[in-house]
Subunit: 126 residues, 2 copies
DNA sequence: ACAATACATAAGCCATCACTTATATTTAAT
DNA sequence: ATTAAATATAAGTGATGGCTTATGTATTGT
């Protein structure tokens, strides 16, 4: 069947917003060291369990983490492809100043991605 | 098992918060097309001049833009090295989750179907 | 000198956010 | 069957953030 428009929302907006909060970024960073249940994460930080759950919901909505049920626990893990829109955003604008930042080239060349899309300009100039 | 000691400054904080706002990101993106005065930027968006100045102040504080005076105008331009902490952040944690993806794939290869094992208990709280 | 222009800062308003406690829901343990 | 545990959601609250208008400070033009 011919696929119609792949009009995926692909919001780098949610990603930037999700990672802007230090607690949320700390939770994400903690998950890069291995998957963990909500209770595990709650014990690692000094915020309440609902706060952790809310942060995880934001991260999940941004596509940065995924979850799986294990009995009465919910195991969260990093979604490896979640940072792709962020990398694409950087890749798109790299053309304008890339000659000054060779490390960016190095990083982007080592990324296992294919043909980054142009980040969407939902806030367009007039 | 990676026990990442914290020896990395967290200056990506301001960058994430600076880029989290769509208007501010739009201003930054606009500056990638060339340097511009505040008045130029104000005419491109539908927000007031003080709002533009405030956004530019946040971007400058994050190290994403720099400015130069030209008569009574202030010309803003992208600071090429400004995104480096962001790129470093991605590169740093990318190493972790690619490692974990590999570990997960190895696990799935060696173990067909049953008994998901316990989450990593060696992750230490801060 | 005076007026106009370009920008920054101040002050206030309103929406959003990150947190809390309380509660509902699902699953496990006894 | 009860109780406990793990998590999500609801509701409320204080703080923060982005916007506005008003005003201050340089700089240019006449």
């Amino acid at each position: 069947m011919p696929t119609a428009a792949r009009k995926r929302p692909r919001n780098e907006d949610r990603i930037f917003t999700a990672l802007a909060d230090p607690s949320r970024r700390a939770i994400f960073e903690s998950l890069t060291r291995g998957e963990a249940a909500v209770n595990d994460l709650t014990s690692r930080f000094q915020i309440s369990q609902p706060a952790v759950s809310q942060h995880l919901a934001v991260l999940k909505d941004a596509g940065l983490v995924d979850r799986r049920k294990d009995g009465r626990r919910v195991i969260y893990r990093v979604e490896p492809r979640g940072l792709k829109p962020l990398i694409d955003w950087i890749a798109y604008y790299r053309a304008f100043w890339t000659e000054h930042v060779q490390r960016l080239e190095d990083l982007l060349d080592s990324m296992p991605d294919d043909a980054p899309d142009a980040p969407d300009a939902s806030t367009r100039p007039r």
